[in-house]
Symmetry: C2
Subunit: 242 residues, 2 copies
DNA sequence: GAGTGGTCTAGACCACCAT
DNA sequence: TGGTGGTCTAGACCACTCC
C-alpha cells in the first residue's frame, strides 16, 4: 500500500508497459483504438494519449501517422566502430532489410556541402536518397552525398543494395576512417511522410563522413532514424592510457 | 504564401525555435510563464505546451520540474572511443563540471549484478551514486559498481573528482577495453528528482562495462543523462576492410 | 501568498485510413 | 463511409516554487 498518489497517466502507462512486457501483445501488434483503450482503462482519451506519448518517447511503442499505435519489436543494434553494412547487420540480427531508392541525381555543391567536403562550390556531387526497411517497416531515410569526380559513372549503378559494396567492387575503394555524430532532431515534412511518423516527432540523426585511403572525404551521409528502431552498442579497445 | 495549413502548435513551435535560434534568448534563459506566452502568441496554454514539449523532445529547450522552461546551452560532445574523464572533457569544452557524491556503500551482488560481472552472488561490490553538473546544471546521475576485491579500501577514497584517476593512481589500474550501449529510457523517481525533470521524461541511458589489463570486468556503470545535455561524436579508424 | 507548472475534464471538428 | 487518430477549446484544481 504505497501512500504516494501517482498521476493517472503514469498508472495507465505502467499498466500498458506491463501488458507489453508480459508479451501479451506481440511485436508490431496494433493497440486497440484510443477511444476503446481509454474506456477499457477507465480514463479519458487525453490522459491515455499522455501515457501513449511517453511510451512512444522511450520506444516501447511506435506510431504510424493516423494508423495507430504498435508494439515496438526488438531494436537493431548498431556498432559505429564496426564497418558492417545495413543489409548485413540487419540480416545478422535475424531481420529482413530492404532498400528503396527514392532519388539519384547529380547536383552542384552548395555552400554547406562545399564546406563539408572541403571542395569548391558548384563541384559535382552525386546525391542519393534512400528509404530503408526492417521487416517491411520504414525505419530510416538517408541522404548520401558522394564526390562525383571520384566515382565516374556512379549514377548508373544499382543502389538498391549496399552502396559501400558497389564502391568497393566497382571502384576499388578503401575506407580508412569515418566520423559520426548522433543527435536528436524533429522529423518533418518529406522525411516524416516517408517514415510514417507524425511531423515533429523526435528521431535520431546520424551523420557520417567517410574518408578514403588517401584521407580524402569522399562521402557524407545523413541518416534519419525512427527513434525506436535503433540501439547503439560499441566495443572500444583502449591503448593510449596515461 | 504557402497554401498548406500548418497545425497551430507547429506554427508556435517554429516561432519559438526561431526566437531561440536568432539568439534573442540566451542559453539557460527562462522562458516567460506558459500563461503569458500563450497569450502573447495568441494561443491556448494547451497548444503552447504541445509546442514546448516538441521543442523539449529535440533538446532545443529543457524543463525543470515546476520551475519552467529554459533555453538549452550547447551540448557536451562525448566520444566513447576516447577515454577522457567527465571532469576533463567538460572542462575542455569550456564548461564547468562538478560532481556530488550521493552515496557510497559496500553491497552484496544480487543476481543481476552477479550475472553482469560474472561473479558469484553475494560477492562484495562497491556501489557509488553520483550526481554530476555542467555549469551548475544537473545533467547526469550515475550508478557505478566496482569489484571490491580488486580495490581494497576503496570506500574511503574521495569520489568527488575523477574516479578513474583514483583507480589509476591508487591502484595502478590499466583499462584495456570498454563496451557501451546507449538507449532511451524514462527518467523516473529518484533519478528524475535529482535531475529536476518531470517523472517519465525521456533520457539517455549509457551503460559501460570496463575491463582491466587482464581482461577482467572490474566496473559497471549506468549513466542517466538529461537528453538535451549530451551529443555523441566519434572518430573511427577502419582497418580490417574486406 | 501569488503565481507557476502539472494534471485533468468533457467535450468538439477535421482529415485521413481502412473497408 | 464509418471510425480513427490529430488537433483544439475552454476551462478547472492542486502542489509546488518563488518572493
Amino acid at each position: 500500500m504505497t501512500a504516494t498518489k501517482l498521476p493517472q497517466f503514469i498508472v495507465v502507462r505502467n499498466y500498458l508497459e506491463q501488458l507489453i512486457a508480459a508479451k501479451r501483445m506481440k511485436a508490431n501488434a496494433k493497440l486497440p483504438s484510443e477511444r476503446i483503450l481509454a474506456e477499457d482503462l477507465n480514463t479519458t482519451r487525453r490522459t491515455l494519449r499522455e501515457a501513449l506519448t511517453q511510451l512512444e518517447a522511450v520506444g516501447t511503442i511506435y506510431r504510424q501517422d493516423r494508423r495507430g499505435w504498435f508494439v515496438t519489436p526488438p531494436r537493431i543494434s548498431y556498432d559505429p566502430t564496426n564497418p558492417a553494412f545495413f543489409m548485413d547487420y540487419v540480416a545478422s540480427q535475424g531481420s529482413e532489410p530492404k532498400t528503396q531508392v527514392l532519388d539519384v541525381e547529380l547536383i552542384k555543391a552548395d555552400e554547406r556541402l562545399a564546406g563539408i567536403f572541403g571542395i569548391a562550390e558548384k563541384s559535382e556531387l552525386c546525391r542519393l536518397f534512400r528509404l530503408r526497411y526492417i521487416d517491411n517497416r520504414e525505419v530510416l531515410i538517408e541522404r548520401i552525398y558522394l564526390r562525383a569526380d571520384k566515382f565516374p559513372g556512379l549514377i548508373n549503378q544499382d543502389f538498391s543494395h549496399s552502396l559501400t559494396k558497389v564502391l568497393k567492387q566497382e571502384y576499388g575503394l578503401k575506407i580508412s576512417r569515418q566520423s559520426f555524430t548522433i543527435h536528436l532532431v524533429a522529423l518533418m515534412n518529406d522525411i516524416a511522410k516517408h517514415l510514417l511518423v507524425v511531423s515533429g516527432t523526435p528521431g535520431l540523426c546520424l551523420k557520417r563522413t567517410l574518408y578514403n585511403e588517401a584521407g580524402e572525404l569522399f562521402e557524407y551521409d545523413e541518416e534519419f532514424w525512427r527513434p525506436e528502431a535503433l540501439q547503439l552498442k560499441m566495443d572500444v579497445k583502449l591503448e593510449s592510457q596515461v
